[in-house]
Amino acid sequence: MSRPRLIKEASAPLQLEKELLLRIHDLMVKTRALEERLIQMYKQGHGYFWIGGPGEEAFNVPLGMLMKKGQGPAYDYLHAHYRQSGTILALGEEPIGALRQMKNTATDPYSGGRNFAGHFSLRKYNVAPVSSPIEVQYAIAPGTAMMQKRHGGDGITIVTGGDAGTAEGDFASCLVWSTRPANPLPILIIVTNNKWGISTAGDEQHGEKHIADRARGFGIPAKTINGNDPIEAYNELKEAMEYVRKERKPYFIEAMVSRLYGHSSASGANFVGNEVDCLKEFEARLEQEGVLTRQQMDDLKNRYTEELAAAARQVRDEPQPDPDSIWKHIYAEDK
């Protein structure tokens, strides 16, 4: 079998420790199984809408693994978008929570049945609530970064979004506010570039060669990386985070990723087949390097698929939110 094209000569053999490779792989498989279960639930009528991140696992899993996890400005903040189940699972969340959000049950830990799938909120880990408007998170993220800079320590703010949304002004706001000479900020600005905005190809709408070039205009160190390679993603994210933690200045990553099931259930949520599948490619490398056998990987996938099917059956019988609960949490109570 020929070498997968992702392997650079310099990078073979696999650059990470075996234990780390296994953890990344495990989380990628778990995330894919979760996303496929969410799509199943949608297709079976156990949810009104699906949106998620199959095709972004190789980037999003290392991101979650590398985050400094905790609550408050001493820890990392994540202003995420709606394709980041891999990050959430890497932070240690149980996948059944995502299923509950899909089924909009009262038990949904992220929104109590109020929001779409993939719209996570975990204050305990500084994960800001994901919202549907594209790119608003880029306007908000400098605020948490300011508090972290003032707090001291090495906590950073991470903001992610898609390529299409960089056309919104909030993306420019983020670049401006992160690099004010009066107060440069410890922020890792990320764009996962899948080259699509729903049905519109990015190259029809964007004249810039790389989105990262826009960050360079602000003097931000910026890289365009292969987000389909979990090893490259891990190493680049690690380097970027170390820079931001130490220098207390912004860093920019544009990660080229795939969108394996289209934009959302609105476009059918069917496997597209003509994009790089990061999991498939990673597994070929793991097999080739003797890290895992095909059998072991198939067993893992089957185990997660079965676990998630069981979890979905459990979630199906859980209650919907009480209609009277609409009045809860309009305001926070004084603490």
């Binding site: 408050g72 400005p73 903040y77 202003h79 949904d108 992220y110 929104s111 109590g112 109020r114 929001n115 719209h119 909120s121 975990l122 204050r123 800001a128 609530p129 919202s131 408007p133 608003v136 880029y138 306007a139 908000i140 993220a141 400098p142 605020g143 948490t144 970064a145 300011m146 508090m147 972290q148 003032r150 707090h151 703010t157 002004g169 909030d170 706001s173 401006v176 506010w177 004010r180 009066a182 809860k328 949490h329 309009i330 305001y331 926070a332 109570e333 004084d334 603490k335």
Partner: protein, 351 residues
Amino acid sequence: MANMAQAIRMALHYAEENLGVTDIFGEDVGMPLGGVFTCTQGLKTAWNSPLDERGIIGAAMGIAMGGGRPVAEIQFCDYVYNTIDLLKLAGNTCWSSNGDWNMPMVVRTPVGSGIRGSIYHSHSFDATMTHIPGWKVVMPSTPLDAYGLLITACKEQNPVMFLEPKALLRVKGEERIPGEPDDDRALSKMIDAPLGDRSQWKAQWPELQEFAIPFGKGKLVREGSQVTVVSYGRTLPLCAKAAATLADEGISAEVIDLRSLWPYDWEMIKQSVQKTGRVLFVNEDTEVTNFGEHLVRRTVEELFFSLLAPPRLLAGKFLPGIGLADSLEMASVPQQNDITEAIRKLAAEQP
């Protein structure tokens, strides 16, 4: 007595010293200007932001999420409109995260006409802002109320929109702010930045005391028996003056300063209307889908059998803007005569 701009400044000083306010910011909010209306002069946590309203609201949200307590300013409410979806997001963050997150943030913005501000410095924002759930919305008409409401705003766990009637920012109060010196000139010397070089200037703050006005409580400005007038902001003193004028004609008008638009003091309105049987709501935002229309609707639904006349709304004309010429501004939003006449007419209506 302090004017409203000084009262706001003193409340912010009190809040940054005592209530944990961490960031007072916006366009030209820091020194040397200290705000285009001088509301933020000499404050230790004030800083200048880029000219980016979405960035300002976004940063305030982030600061609140990061454990800070921001007071952001939008220089004129006319420029807040491109932040509407962020305001919506700030208002729904607690609800949509099922109580996981909350947003202790204050946004201040000058509103309304009265300075011949033409099309983009005369807008009102109360109608639009009261369409955005999850916020608390207040609008003082006196310096003391501005002080007390802003202190409450800075103690809130939720987003607060603090609307400043720009026509009243320079008007001196009739009530003393707790801790304010007796002499106006002494106060000015202490806290107003000097003209010219301000680089070495520091405010000398008086020993201010906490004075918090709870949200949702109106103020009975004048008692009366024949007609209730409910207003807030710039039009409130006009209503009070109209009531005083009409008293000479034997018309007894009760005047309520709503102060807090959301939540609002329905009990006060209700008790007054049950007594008078007539009510006029007055504000200067455009009249179609105006907040006063909500109050009219509620009055009709809940107080119909107490009414002696249809509830009325006197508001700004439904126009794309307020023109610069004196004649245009005067014709576009309620003026003294419009209000006096509307009260006189309503008082005379019989079933």
